[in-house]
Amino acid sequence: MYKAIRSESFAAWAFMAPGLLFLAVFTFWPIIYGIPLSLTDYSVITETHFVGLDNFTRAFQDHNFLISLWNSLVYVLVVPVIQIISILMAILVNSRISGLKMFRAAYYIPVVTSMVAVALIWSWLLGNNGVVNYLLLKVGILSEQVSWLSTSSTALYVLMFITMWKGLGYYMMLYLAGLQNIPADLYEAARVDGAGPLRLIVHVTLPLLRPHILFCTVISVMGAVRVFDEVYILTKGGPGTSTLTSSVYIFQKGLEQFNFGYASALGLIVSVMIAALSVLVFRLNRKGGVNTY
């Protein structure tokens, strides 16, 4: 028995080893190495000096960094929206109606499309003379063209929408997997007891999806705080600092301005923030189990 368990765990580790190795080299090591770097003025090209906690004190006096943190927190608002819509989509594509396979595939296409392509397509659609303005002007919702990505009041929300549009299919698939694990007899029993479609969702589906909701929410929060691609491609943080997110600012400080020591300090602060948010999400989702009705 003990031997079997040992050989089984050995096999598990063996399967995980390649992935873990990559993670160790490209994720864990840079994170660990970032800690000593954050205490220096490392810039790759010039002599490095130890600066103690200067980078951290500078970070909390850096107006642009504080704005970028705030924007990243605002970006987290996309999480509940994306989760609710993807759960509803999963419930829809899980029903036994013919032709739904096509929708399932269609919703998933944005997920596998490169973010660069997605960003460029949306930049055309949202351009001054793009399709979005054209349609909204036609139906009378707008009276004049709106520069969606160049206007501070709309740019961040437009980017959040693009993030949501691209991620929906991914979360839908995860929830779909969860839905297909819910035993059909639970629904049968609920129906016998007189539950309608809405009560089925509230009292059967959602409680049993809780582990999936927790997982999806955590990774979605992490993704929202770390968002980079769409912001960098479409607005580079502009106009002004309207869409400056923490990842974009860290990239600019490190890879564009060669302040790697400072960028490492910013990265550590953001990592701590993401960890705190993840813990918060776990705590909020700790209660659970199947509700009786």
Partner: protein
């Protein structure tokens, strides 16, 4: 036992972290020897030792392979023992490549960078001071304004290579429709604004689109930094007036209310959503492909000047990284690539402008066959003697540019208060100047 193990693990982690910290604080080997002005005149490698020079350019392969291969073999045959390895990278990748190769101790010897990036690296001490290697005669062979653009604290960090100055492209169909005469183009920014206003009133098409960048200040004679480059100098009533005028023009519709990157500007001009375009001659290649009809109706004239009465150059440079293992040979090769003869030849194959004074005397830069390309070339080459880069000698140019661009966007796109924003950007720029990192 467990506590001991935990303690051991924590100690081990601390030791590892401290050793990494010490490693990160390691010295910076400067392999450059003691130079002497004019040492670039020597042929071949020192004491006959074979030398390999790594030469990096931005986006010039495969279009100009023949030109470079010919030039490199000519150089190698006249410099026995010297081998030049030419590598070419996309514009977006070269800075990352330079960082990674420098970090791994394999610095290239001669690198093609733009002026902003060269100033940024130079002020961080990552590039050789070329003043220590070049003779006066060599330094004076370049247009002064362009050569001086990468001098920070009296140190010249780059040799100017191919360059460009902006010209004014005009959509003659729209200009004529507005009742204006393209044969008498506007000479000043004020006249250009008047023309743009008339085009907008008569045709409904905006005058022009532009990117909100720091060069808007020096165009109107507002210095970005003070004389000795130690503090911001742009927070002035003149700057407030300039930005307020820009804001009003955007509100009127005369200038597009957008922070338009070059690709966006191409779209607007191609789609006849603007009548004018202010940019370098390379702009022609894009509209020729994307909008042949607009191309037919376009003419190029000398760029109207702002209050400062100067025209800005946009140069590519050659630099020698501080960590090059063959600094003398590297400077010599960079000087060879940027000498008048080779710059003239490159301008002819690449349709760019030279930064060497002697090149401009070639008939190629004064004669026009009437084509838009030739008009643009002649119009822009006439501005070279007055041309200067707008980040002349600015340390950490990249950081300062970002701060100014963000400030302009806040005011013009987000409606922020002009004075408050200028105060905030001034504070930020002064912080950048006072930081060592």
């Amino acid at each position: 036992m467990t506590t001991n193990r935990k303690g051991f693990t924590v100690s081990l982690l601390l030791v590892v972290m401290m050793s990494m910290l010490l490693a990160a604080c390691g010295g910076n080997d400067n392999t450059a020897g003691t130079p002497s002005p004019g040492s670039t005149g020597e042929a071949g490698s020192e004491a006959g030792k074979p030398v390999t020079l790594e030469f990096w350019t931005i986006a010039l392969q495969p279009t100009f392979n023949d030109y470079f291969n010919d030039l490199i073999s000519k150089y190698e045959s006249s410099h026995p023992g010297v081998t030049v390895e030419w590598k070419d990278y996309p514009y977006d990748a070269i800075s990352q490549r330079l960082l990674t190769s420098t970090a791994s101790g394999k610095s290239p010897d001669v690198v093609n960078l733009n002026t902003e990036f060269a100033s940024q690296l130079g002020s961080k001490g990552a590039l050789l001071n070329l003043n220590e290697y070049l003779t006066d005669e060599q330094a004076k062979s370049y247009f002064e304004g362009i050569y001086n653009s990468t001098i920070v604290d009296g140190k010249a960090y780059a040799l100017p290579w191919y360059t460009g100055t902006e010209v004014l492209f005009m959509n003659t169909r729209l200009v004529k429709e507005a009742g204006l005469d393209p044969a008498n183009p506007p000479q000043t920014r004020e006249e250009l604004v008047e023309w743009a206003r008339q085009v907008y009133e008569k045709t409904g098409v905006a005058g022009y689109a532009q990117q909100l960048v720091s060069k808007l200040f020096p165009i109107d004679g507002i210095p970005i930094l003070n004389e000795d480059k130690t503090a911001a100098a742009f927070n002035t009533p003149e700057a407030e007036a300039m930005i307020a005028q820009m804001r009003d023009l955007m509100a009127e519709g005369v200038v597009l209310k957008e922070d338009a990157e070059f690709s966006k500007q191409i779209q607007y001009f191609s789609g006849e959503q603007v009548a004018f375009q202010l940019s370098g001659p390379t702009f022609i290649n894009f509209i020729k492909k994307s909008a042949p009809d607009v191309y037919k109706n376009t003419i190029a004239v000398t760029l109207p000047t702002g209050k400062a009465n100067l025209r800005l150059s946009n140069s590519m440079d050659l630099v020698v990284p501080q960590k090059s293992k063959n600094p003398e040979q590297a400077v010599e090769f960079a000087a060879f690539m940027t000498n008048a003869e080779n710059q003239t030849a490159f301008s002819k194959v690449a349709n760019t402008l030279p930064s060497s004074k002697a090149s401009i005397e070639d008939p190629f830069f004064t004669q026009s066959d009437g084509s838009l390309e030739a008009e643009a070339k002649v119009a822009s080459s006439q501005s070279l003697d007055k041309a200067t880069d707008y980040m002349v000698g600015v340390p950490n140019a990249g950081d300062i540019n970002s701060a100014l661009a963000r400030g302009l966007q806040e005011i013009l796109m987000n409606g922020a208060d002009i004075k408050e924003t200028l105060n905030a950007v001034e504070k930020e720029v002064n912080q950048i100047l006072n930081q060592d990192s």
